[in-house]
Amino acid sequence: MLELTQDERAIASGTAGEGAAMAMRIVAEAARLMGAPRLIPIVSAHIDGALYHGDSGTLFAERLVAGGARVSVRASLNVGSLAPAGCAAIRLPPHERDMARRMMHAYEAMGCEPSWTCAPYQAGHRPAQGSDVAWGESNAVVFCNSVLGARTNRYGDFLDIACAISGRAPDYGLHRPENRVATLLIDVGGLSRELRSSDVFYPVLGTILGRRAGSDVAVIDGLRGCTTEDRLKALGAAAASAGGVGLFHVAGVTPEAPDAAAALGGIVPRETIVLRPNDIATALARLSTAGATDRIDAIAIGSPHLSLAEIDELERLMAGRKLRIPLYANTGRHVVGPLEAQGRRAALEAAGVVFVVDTCIVVTPILPELEGAVLMTNSGKFAHYAPGNTGYAVTYGSLSECVESAVAGRLVRETRAWS
């Protein structure tokens, strides 16, 4: 049974203004729904609510602004529907464009940082291990919990800003240490080290994790020495789009998992899954929807938003060659800023890279409307959402295959052992 403090009840009844009251009531109602006994203070928020899905979200944000609401903790912003810092043309009709702009302004007016990225953790927003935060955007949530060891539930649109304004979150779920213990063990140690050390493996593993774990916490064993931050980012993003994953551990890698036994809290897992090559093949096949075709109309990378390290790799693979198929590089200001300063952005654009900044190709209409179009991607999250959101069928491949295909103007596959 939820109990609010006297202070919280006063704010909910309007003593700090109608905006703060609405935020506190929303947090309290979420707490009641989830069976939380109390609200707890948070140190930061990441806000996914500033993406335009229809006029209702704009009206809600403007209602908060009109009520005098301000965020009371550090609050970064996830992608929006427009690209004030980007170069890709966005095909939003005038009314939608206007409402999206109003929405972005409303969130900035409440004191949120104009970070406009789904990888805030690579744009300087890295809460300390063990701290309670309220983050939205499923990939950011899973990264924050798993890789940083900060504590958040998957806060959806509206609850994220409500938590940021009230400075509080419902005390339930992944805020509580007992719910952060893994109950599922996934053993990948039987797969080749070459596969485990390749970027292209991680979205596939994430898809398996999402489908097998659902919203349970899993520990993955067998990746010690194989991961990078960007691989963990890709793993979490794929897991959070294929399932309800909010936290995973990697034995010997992530902060709450010195080893598998510690992540499991010393308890026998309810299930142990030993991944075999045929599991990998099944998950790999699921990432593509285009079937046997070598047609490719566009290539998209950067879901989650590309890091500088990923841009370095893109440049290295392009090796000065021109692209015949447009390659949409989705990233944030924290990356294009330095690229511009170093004179690298213009060179990449001249070669055929289209930078999508502050937003991405699956959340707002950027890709041209084409009959039977195919999108190639190295992102598990793009592979998951592109068919529904863009109408493009998907061919999944490695970054290297994406670049070679872009150069050749048709699908290029590399020989690779998926075992």
Partner: protein, 136 residues
């Protein structure tokens, strides 16, 4: 047959045809916010429309923007007539909480185990404001 579902968010009693999904769904990327049509290419109920249906959800997955899609469906008059959820999902239900704060008429939400949802598939169903479910 009568079932009792636990009330999550209040609303008026409803009667309507039940769309019982056979797989979990992500509203964002899975449901068109303007029409209520299921657009997830990999979902077994793809092409069906949730507007005005009593929507039984065996599970919810994916994006944290599900609440925004549900709020937009409410405002557009394309929301389900009621939600039956295997487990309460703070992300999705927030769409209804905010709709109520905005003063818009909101459908009720109830908790009903996935195993009980199956019996309601494509049946005409009445749900009282307290969560008593009967097949008409």
């Amino acid at each position: 047959m009568e079932l009792k579902a636990e009330l999550l968010l209040p609303g008026d009693a409803v009667t309507g045809s039940c769309l019982a999904l056979t797989a979990p769904i992500s509203f964002w990327g899975g449901v068109d916010p303007a029409s209520g049509t299921i657009i997830d290419a990999r979902h077994p109920e793809r092409g069906q429309n949730i507007a005005g249906r009593i929507l039984a959800l065996p599970g919810t997955i994916g994006s944290s923007s599900a609440s925004a899609v549900l709020l937009e469906l409410v405002r557009a008059g394309k929301a389900p007539a009621a939600l039956l959820m295997d487990a309460p999902d703070a992300i999705l239900l927030l769409g209804l909480v905010v709709a109520r704060e905005m003063g818009w008429p909101t459908p009720p939400a109830f908790r009903l185990p996935a195993a009980d949802q199956k019996a309601l598939a494509d049946r005409n169903v009445t749900i009282s404001d307290e969560g008593r479910i009967s097949i008409v």
